[in-house]
Structures are given as C-alpha cells and as structure tokens.
C-alpha cells in the first residue's frame, strides 16, 4: 500500500480522478430527466466505480423520435374513424368495444417499446471511461466501455439541413481497446461532446506525466 492509498484510507487524501472538463465545469447539472444532452446527470450505471463521476449522458436527439410519436398519435386516432368502415358494423356491439380496446393495447405497446428503447439506449462519458449502453431487443443488452486513455481519435459528423439546424450529429470515437470504434449516433451538440472528450484525454495525459495513477 503506497502513501496515497494510506492517506485515502484515513480520509486525508482526495481520490485520484480527473477533474471536470473546462467546457462544462461551470455548467449546472441538467435537471430534465428526458433531456438528450445531460450535463453532470443524476444517474448511476451498473459498472460504475465508487469515485467515478458521470460527466455527460447522451441520447439520440428528441427530433429522431418524431416518426414513432406521429405513428402513435395516428394509431390512437384511427378508431375514431372505424364507424365509417362498412364491415365494422357487422360485428356485434360487444366485439366492437373489444376491438377498440385491443387496438389501444397495441398502440400502448408500440409507444412503450419505442420510448424505452430511446430512454435507455444511452452513451455515458465519465471522468474515467466512455460507456455505450445498447438494448437491441426486449431482453438483449450490450454494454461496452473503454478507458479515456484508450481514445485515439474523435470525429463528429453533422450532415443535412435538419442536423445543422437543430445542432445534432454523430460522434465517432476510435479507440485502442478491444472495441475499435464507438459511434454516438444523432446526439445533440456533437462539437461539444468531441471537445469534452478531448479535454478529458488531455487531463488523462497530464495525470500520466505527473505520475498519478488511479
């Protein structure tokens, strides 16, 4: 046990972790739990270490949800027009009511699945790692992470009028780890995300030069 570890055990020393990147150091934590770009969010993830701090939480931009949101509204409105469909009156009244209930159950299922998929498919940037959480189907998940020090290259792409207008795009992170690339698709403020990762990388390098190892 080295001197620092002893001090840490006695509560005298601060744990070794990177400081907040300058870009967001003075920003307030995001309060809206449905935001797609959350600074210093109040979340914890499964493999998080005790001293590890989440710097950013990213989801797909809200505008990417409009397709399934409009479909849900469409599904909810359709039963209002069933009265105009000739064969619908062939069903007894009780069956007509049941069909409407069944339709709405399907609409709720459609909404739930899309919402859960959007809400829980997140990318996290902590002061030590980059974590990508993907839920592909009902019960299949993939959680990949890489240390900040493994990051080799960060690129972001913003193509198209809508992306330029609403400021969202894809961030590509090349790493020296087992997983070669992390793609953060359609996340808000990709330029800021890239900047924050670069700042964390610089901080990590500074720590390595100073000989501070966690």
């Amino acid at each position: 046990m080295d001197q620092h570890q002893k001090e840490q055990q006695n509560g005298k020393a601060e744990p070794y972790h990177l400081s907040m990147p300058d870009t967001i150091a003075n920003e307030r934590p995001t309060r809206n739990p449905l935001a797609a770009y959350m600074v210093k969010p109040k979340v914890r993830f499964e493999t998080q270490e005790r001293e590890e701090k989440v710097v950013l939480l990213l989801r797909r931009h809200f505008v990417t949800n409009l397709g399934w949101l409009f479909t849900t509204i469409f599904l909810l409105v359709i039963p209002l027009f069933w009265g105009y469909v000739p064969f619908f009156h062939l069903f007894p009244d009780r069956f007509q009511i049941v069909l409407i209930f069944l339709w709405y159950l399907v609409a709720v299922a459609f909404f739930l699945e899309h919402f859960l998929s959007w809400y829980f498919n997140v990318q996290l940037i902590t002061d030590e790692r980059i974590v990508d959480v993907d839920f592909y189907s009902l019960l299949y998940k993939e959680v990949s992470d890489t240390k900040i020090e493994n990051v080799q290259d960060v690129t972001f792409v913003m193509g198209g009028a809508l992306r330029a207008l609403l400021n969202y795009g894809t961030v590509y992170i090349q790493t020296a780890g087992e997983r070669r690339e992390f793609d953060f698709e359609d996340v808000p403020h990709p330029n800021r995300v890239a900047k924050i990762i670069n700042e964390l990388l610089l901080e990590e390098e500074k720590e390595r030069i100073e000989g501070r190892v966690r």
């Binding site: 739990p33 499964e46 159950l105 299922a109 739930l112 699945e113 959480v133």
Partner: protein
C-alpha cells in the same frame, strides 16, 4: 352473425359458432399480450438496473399499470364477451 355466416362457404344446415371462435382467437391473442406485458416488466427491471435515473420509479409503475390493463382486458373478454 347471420350476415357473416352467409359470407362464409359453410354447408347448408351446418352452424359454426363464429363469435365463439372469434372470442377464442381474441383470448389467445390476449394471452400472448399478457406474456409481452410480463416481458416489459422484466425489461424495465433490467434497464433500470443498468442505468438508474430519476424516472425509474415512474417507468416501473407504468410497466405495472400496463400489465394490470392487459389483465383487465383479458378478464373482461373472458367474462363478458
């Protein structure tokens, strides 16, 4: 029912309980939906365990309400249809 039966190729004098069969099909469909509702509850548990945020409790409650609704519709169809 008579209108529907005249549309189907059924031999004369032979009566098919059309609405009974329809009820059975709906019940089987709802049974699958119940399984789906249970999977959603399990999925939400798994997701909130992976990422714990401020909306966890609300989402868990919604998944249980969804399950209760599907049970309600199943029982409604079973008892009253």
């Amino acid at each position: 029912m008579a209108e529907v039966q005249t549309m189907l190729p059924i031999p004369v004098g032979f009566e098919v309980p059309v609405w009974g069969v329809a009820k059975l099909i709906i019940l089987v469909g709802l049974l699958f939906y119940l399984v789906f509702a249970v999977v959603v509850i399990r999925q939400v548990q798994l997701m909130t365990k992976t990422i714990a945020g401020e909306l966890d409790r609300t989402i868990r409650i919604v998944s249980w309400i969804h399950f209760a609704l599907s049970v309600g519709v199943f029982l409604g169809v079973f008892l009253f249809l």
